[in-house]
Structure formats: structure tokens, C-alpha cells
Amino acid sequence: MASRPDILGPDLLTAALLRSDRFRIEREADWQRLDAIVTSMEKGRIRRVSDEDLLALPQLYRTVASSLSIARAISLDAATLRYLEALVQRAWFVVYGPRSSLTTWLRGFLGGGWSQAVRGLGLDLALALAVMVAGTLVGWLLVAHDPEWYRAIVPSGYADARVPGASRAALHGTLFGNSEQNGLGAFAAYLFSNNAGVSIMAFALGFAFGVPTLLLLIQNTAMLGAMLWLYHGAGLTLDFAAWISVHGTTELFAILLAGGAGLHIGRAMAFPGTRSVLAAASEAGRRGAQVMAGVVLMLVVAAMLEGFARQLIDNTAGRLIVGGFMLAFWCAYFFAFAREPRTVASDGEPA
């Protein structure tokens, strides 16, 4: 029993209240309010947050952030400091989080963000185009030199009737007269899923300094070159070009963009210039991702055209018109209107 004569009176007791505790008591209501708002926003119940609270959020965030700064200078209450740090961090994630509205992002994306990102690829787009043209030529020349190459270049799933030595009538049959074919919807969905997979891979493989992207581009266009040679031999060049242009102008454009985006990353990592490799890679990656979101959209359009329009339009002139129109449309969309989009992407101000 240590009954020392050091018992405090009630007046001293109130005086013992620490200044840091008074600071805490005065501001605790604000902290709890921010905590409640952030918690319900994290749970995705943004509709339950009242308009007043939403409007107050940025201000509350700054208030609590400044509380944290002051508390660090005057308080040694570790639990309160840790609470404030966690709260400011959570609020920071909400205030500086991803744009919650998908429609806002989509509007900025379609209204200029996408085409700007595509133009931003610049040299890489030209490189990808050159590689694709070269791939087509290589495919043609290889098969022209030795038709045995055809089997190596064109996977057997695509070949069916389209093999070297097939009659003109058989080849003609693959281009025309399929309008009665059933299952177009499922076919289109399959085509989309397959093509999207290939182009996403072309993009993602840019990570390995772009080399696999180049190979993938060459492999896919060599197939085109080989088939072009096959139909050329049967005197069906224009008909084949028309048949493939219906969806091909959109699909090949999409593959071109995906390849360009992949090369963009690969080149940024191989030659980062004055930036660090990580900074260069993430800058190129973000631009590439924007291009890729658009590529997936283009492939949806391409699959629609391939699944429906190509089978329903059964003549060369009509197909050429559709294909040419799509090509002109994409070129105009990406390159004709070089207007700066409203900067919705990465400004530093809180929402």
C-alpha cells in the first residue's frame, strides 16, 4: 500500500486535462463525420451519402489532414495519430480515387481522349504499319516461292477449302453465297473473343521490349499475304480484297493499333531517354491502355461486320463500299480532328 500524500484535488484534476486531449475533443466530431462518409463510400453506398456530406467531403478531408499535421506536432497519443493517418489515407483514396462515373470517363474517352492517345503513339504506329505490310509481303513471297509454306503459315482451321490447288469455283464459293448460313451471332461473338485475345496479347507482349509483338504482327499478316496469293492465282484478287475489307479494314486497323501500343511500351522501356525506365514504362502503358480500350470497341464493330454484314452483302462492289467507308471513318476519327480533349484524366485537384 503506497498511500503517499500526493492525492490530487478536483480542481487540479481538470487542469490535468492535456492540451492534446482538448485538441482531440474539439475536432473529434469532424473526424467521425469524415470516417462515416468514407466508410459508406467504400462500401459503394454513395447514394446513401447526403448531398451536404458529399459537398463537405473535400473540405473535411483537408481539415482532417491538417488535424494530422497539428497532432504530429503537439500530441504523443500514438493511437490517435495512427487513427488519423489511416483516416487521411482512406479519405485520400476516396478523394483522389478513380473517377467514379464510367459515363464521364467514356465521354472524355470517345470525345478525344482515345484519338489523342492513338496520335500519341506516333512513330510506333508507323513502325507497326510497316511491319504489317512487310509481313503480308513475306507471306505472299514465301508461298509464291514454295506452296508448301501455305500449310505452315495458315492454320488448318482457317484453310478448309482454301488450299493451294483448289479450283476457282471452290474458292469463289468461299467468298460468295453464304448469306443463308445460320449461327451468325455466335460466329461473330467467337470472332470477337478470339481477335480481342490476340490483340490484347500483342499489346501486353510489348512488355518484352516489343519483340514478341513484332513476331505476332508478322505471323498474322503473313497469313493474309498467303491467302491473298492463293486467291490471286485464281483471278479473284479484287473479290477477296472486297470480302476481307468489310471487317478487315476495322479489324486490321485494330490490330495495327494494338501492335503500335505494344511497340510503344517496348520502345519506351528500351529507350527511356531522360526518364527512369519505370516512369517511361508507366507513361507509355497508360497511353497504350487507353488505345487498347478502344481496340476492344473496334473489334466488337469488326465482329459485327464479319458476322453479319459480310454474309448479307453478297457482291464485291457493296463490300468494297462498306470496307472503304469504315476505313475512311476510322482515319477521320483518329487523325482528322486533332482537337485537345478536356483534361479529365489526371489533374491534381480533388473531385
Binding site: L8, T14, I74, R90, S193, S346
Partner: protein
């Protein structure tokens, strides 16, 4: 714009701690997610994805079976086969969604985390301390495709009994899975490209203030002299706070005995907790006063600055 700086070594609790400067200029300590928790989150997501995929597939198959039996009953070829075709379209689109949209959709939400990440308490954030944008989330999830799904497709196309395919797929997996082990910030390929990292999502409740008079009424009976309070610093204060908040009786008693011995008091007191609460409040008052005067004492070894 915000920036990250290296954490001062004195404060670093582990090599996963980083300091983030918000645009308001407030330094926030953040902790990178451990590799184990990220792997766990991925497993959980795959379990959820697999369950959803199998459930929808079974539902579509039974729907298809119903439609097929309808064809048999009423011989209505055209519309029924269109319905079957529609089911196939739905299934193909769903497969695509499973592959790409699951991670995208959830990481774009306010929590910046898939259900798996949410369960293990981690989330993604922009590495530069700025806003996490949709482009970043898209980029990091497109890369996931080659990290995880490419080798699976590889095995599927080469046949499950092909040894070279398995070896190549395993090497591929290992290369990308081990990437987070070979850089300081534990970035996987998608994080490198997108400029993101994965951090722990803190959740803390505001704990009660311990120094309010009503919180510790019996602590008032102890009064310590300045000399008795001068032996300890901030580190000991925070250790004492932890002991009091955890509230384990044996720990409280042994800490009380240690402090009493150190300051030369009788270690035997009736109420160890009240003794410690009083000492905590008075030590904190003393150190905080010093703090306001610009004099800090880091621990018991530091002299009065």
C-alpha cells in the same frame, strides 16, 4: 503534384513502409502489401471467378436443354435455334468478361480492390501519389492476361499431356510470379506498366483517450515529480500506451514494477493500472510540453535536447 519520398530510417518499421506526400503536403505512411497477401487475394478471386463461371455455365446449359426439348415438342426450328444461338453468344461474352472485366470492374470502384483483395485488406494505388486513373487500372489488368492466362491457353493448345508445354508454361508462370520478388516495391509486370502498386488498406477505429479524468478516475491518487518523469522518452511512452491499451494484467504488473524500481518508488502498489495510467498521463503532459517548446526526447537514452 504529390511525390513519394524514402522513409527516414528511424521511423521505418519494416522494409514495406513508404512515405507518401499528398498534394496538400501531408506525409502519409503507407505499407506495401506483402507478397503472401497478394497471392492469397489472387487465389480468392480465382475461387470467386470459377464459382461464378461454373454457376452461369450450368444455368445456361440447363436453359439450353429446356429450349432443345421445346424444339422436340413443337418442331419450331427457326426461333428455337435462334434462342440456342443467343445462349451461346451469352456464354462467349461471359467468358470474355471473366477474363478481362472482373478485375477491371472492381478495381475501378471506390475501394480500388477486387473482392479477394478486399477480404485480405489490400488495394491498388498510384505510385506517384496522384490520382488512380482508369487507364492505369486497364493497363495493369491487360498485362494480367499474359501473366496468368497465356500459359493456360498454351497448355490447352499443346495438349495437357505435352511435357514441353508444361515446362514452358511453368517457366513463364515463374518468371512473372517471381517478378515481385526482384524489385524493391514488389511490382508485378502490370504494376510496372501502369504506374501502380498494391498497398495495405488501413482500417482503424478511434480509440478512447486514456488521459481524460473520467477515463481513469483512480489514477488521480499518484503524483510524480519532474525528476521521476525525466527518466523516460517518447519511445517508452508509446510502449506504455500499448501495454495499457492491450490491458493484459501480467504485463501491466511487470511494467509497473519495472517503472517503480527505476524511479525509486515502492514497487508494491494496490492498483498497478492506476499507477501506470497516472504515470502515462503525467509523462505525456511533460513530453508534450517539451514538444511545444521544441525540446523532444526520443527515448530514455536521449538527453534533454
Amino acid at each position: 503534384m504529390a511525390a513519394t519520398i524514402a522513409m527516414p530510417t528511424r521511423h521505418a518499421r519494416s522494409n514495406r513502409d513508404r512515405m507518401l506526400i499528398t498534394p496538400e503536403g501531408v506525409a502519409l505512411p503507407i505499407t506495401l502489401a506483402s507478397r503472401g497477401s497478394r497471392a492469397g487475394a489472387l487465389m480468392l478471386d480465382f475461387i470467386f471467378l470459377g464459382t461464378a463461371f461454373i454457376a452461369v455455365t450450368i444455368a445456361l446449359i440447363s436453359l439450353g436443354g429446356g429450349v432443345a426439348s421445346l424444339i422436340g415438342q413443337f418442331d419450331m426450328g427457326g426461333s428455337a435455334s435462334a434462342a440456342l444461338q443467343f445462349l451461346v453468344v451469352v456464354w462467349i461474352i461471359m467468358t470474355f468478361m471473366v477474363r478481362y472485366a472482373w478485375f477491371l470492374w472492381f478495381e475501378l470502384g471506390a475501394r480500388g480492390a477486387t473482392p479477394g483483395k478486399r477480404l485480405v485488406g489490400i488495394r491498388i494505388a498510384a505510385r506517384d501519389g496522384g490520382r488512380l486513373t482508369a487507364e492505369m487500372v486497364i493497363a495493369r489488368n491487360l498485362l494480367r492476361d499474359i501473366e496468368l492466362f497465356l500459359p493456360i491457353g498454351f497448355i490447352a493448345s499443346a495438349g495437357a499431356d505435352s511435357t514441353p508445354a508444361w515446362l514452358a508454361a511453368t517457366a513463364w508462370f515463374a518468371m512473372f510470379m517471381l517478378l515481385p520478388c526482384f524489385n524493391r516495391d514488389r511490382l508485378r509486370a502490370g504494376d510496372v506498366i501502369a504506374g501502380t502498386w498494391v498497398v495495405e488498406a488501413p482500417r482503424r477505429k478511434l480509440e478512447a483517450a486514456m488521459t481524460l479524468p473520467e477515463a481513469a478516475p483512480s489514477a488521480a491518487q499518484y503524483r510524480f515529480t519532474d525528476a521521476e518523469l525525466a527518466v523516460y522518452g517518447e519511445y517508452e511512452l508509446q510502449t506504455l500506451e500499448r501495454v495499457l491499451r492491450e490491458g493484459r494484467e501480467p504485463a501491466i504488473e511487470s511494467v509497473q514494477a519495472t517503472i517503480a524500481a527505476k524511479i525509486g518508488r515502492d514497487p508494491w502498489v494496490s492498483d498497478s493500472r492506476a499507477f501506470l495510467e497516472a504515470y502515462y498521463a503525467q509523462l505525456r503532459a511533460r513530453l508534450e510540453t517539451g514538444m511545444r517548446m521544441g525540446k523532444r526526447k526520443a527515448d530514455k537514452f536521449a538527453g534533454e535536447a
